[in-house]
Symmetry: C2
Subunit: 238 residues, 2 copies
């Protein structure tokens, strides 16, 4: 069976390798089985759009693999990226549970496989399984936390340098440290980073140059090594 765009379709939630460790993992088995029967799986190529800001909520997407950019944009084309979602995350949850329109736009930036659950099915399932509703609430709480964190980097920093430093430190926090260095692969373009921190593309380029000159970090292709976390922290504190 072939999906459009030449990607293999996975058959269901159950075959998703990350099913175990996520949202509904530790529900009682009957509930999980019931849930597993609902979703429809699909593959999305780079550039595809899962949903658009303002669109009425159709349901949730559970990411099995790939990366999805969550952003909001204004009439005149400026856009603000909130975060990049990865495998295991559930997208569209707030809009789906409240019944309001999607508040963000979800664009695929790396080929993605996802399960879709329609709003009606999802709500029905939640009403029947109270424990699942609690899990959803927790998930929403986490999402809120992320939003607030992003808010801090955008709103509390006066200088662009501070914002970028905050952004990089947030990134570093999600990766393991090794000999005082944090190594990570950064798939975002300068343009996208700029949209995440509310700055211009050129400024990001200049700041990267600056940070490299100060030996805070090092860039080889798409891998980025943070050599001096304390240095970045001092930029934030300043």
């Amino acid at each position: 069976m072939r999906a459009p765009y030449g990607l293999e379709i996975i058959e269901s939630c159950l075959s998703c390798p990350h099913r175990e460790d996520r949202l509904f993992c530790n529900l009682p088995p009957p509930a999980v089985q019931k849930l597993a029967a609902i979703p429809s799986a699909a593959a999305y190529p780079k550039g595809a759009t899962l949903f658009v800001e303002g669109q009425s909520a159709r349901g949730v997407f559970i990411l099995c693999s790939g990366k999805v950019k969550l952003s909001t944009s204004s009439a005149d084309g400026k856009s603000l990226i909130l975060r990049i979602s990865e495998q295991g995350e559930v997208l569209g949850l707030p809009a789906t549970v409240t019944g309001k329109p999607y508040e963000l736009t979800a664009d695929v930036i790396e080929p993605t496989q996802a399960n879709f659950i329609s709003r009606t099915d999802f709500l029905l399932f939640l009403r029947e399984h109270g424990e699942a509703a609690l899990r959803v609430a927790q998930q929403l709480g986490e999402t809120y936390h992320l939003a607030i964190a992003e808010m801090r980097t955008i709103g509390l920093s006066r200088s662009a340098a501070e914002k970028l430093a905050r952004f990089l430190l947030d990134l570093a926090a999600n990766h393991d440290e090794e000999k005082g260095e944090v190594k990570l692969t950064l798939t975002l373009t300068h343009e996208e980073i700029a949209q995440m921190i509310g700055a211009s593309r050129e400024t990001v380029t200049r700041l990267f140059a600056d940070f490299k000159k100060k030996d805070f970090l090092q860039v080889k292709g798409s891998t980025l090594i943070i050599r001096n976390k304390a240095g970045l922290e001092s930029v934030v504190a300043a």
Copy 2:
């Protein structure tokens, strides 16, 4: 029975005048009764603090009356106000359900009566009443929406004028329109507005003067009349 600070303590949730129209209103009666037995009511004066950012989550506060400022601040004293909560809202929900520390600080800016429910009691109640968990999820979804909206005004606007206009339009959206004018009472100081939109106090003052000169709005004491919504919208669009 007297509270500290000379305010009357209300006995419980049940005596709160806004119980009806909020979070747990349309649960089955036995659930409501059970819930009503849990919380402890208290009165808080202006300047009191319900909880502080970073503090581990003790539980939720349900506002019966008053106003509470939700903010986050950085080490060097700058602070960012996310929103002002009013009666009927539930504070500390995300932190309480996830078990993470409070992500914001809640300061009372107008004398407030609130019910407190401890985290353990609250979680216990949710586990026993699945419908309530769903309501909580919806509430969290709403809160998330608000956060995203705030994010847009801060992050998507390049000029301070645009941010202030966006802020005022958001305010106007929550009030009734009358003969093309929106009248509302604004309890915030310029300083606080500045902290909401990420600008300096002086800039806010100057922009208000500017908007008044352009006859977009009119200020009498603490009441503010938006006379020309289209004008503000054109500032946002620009």
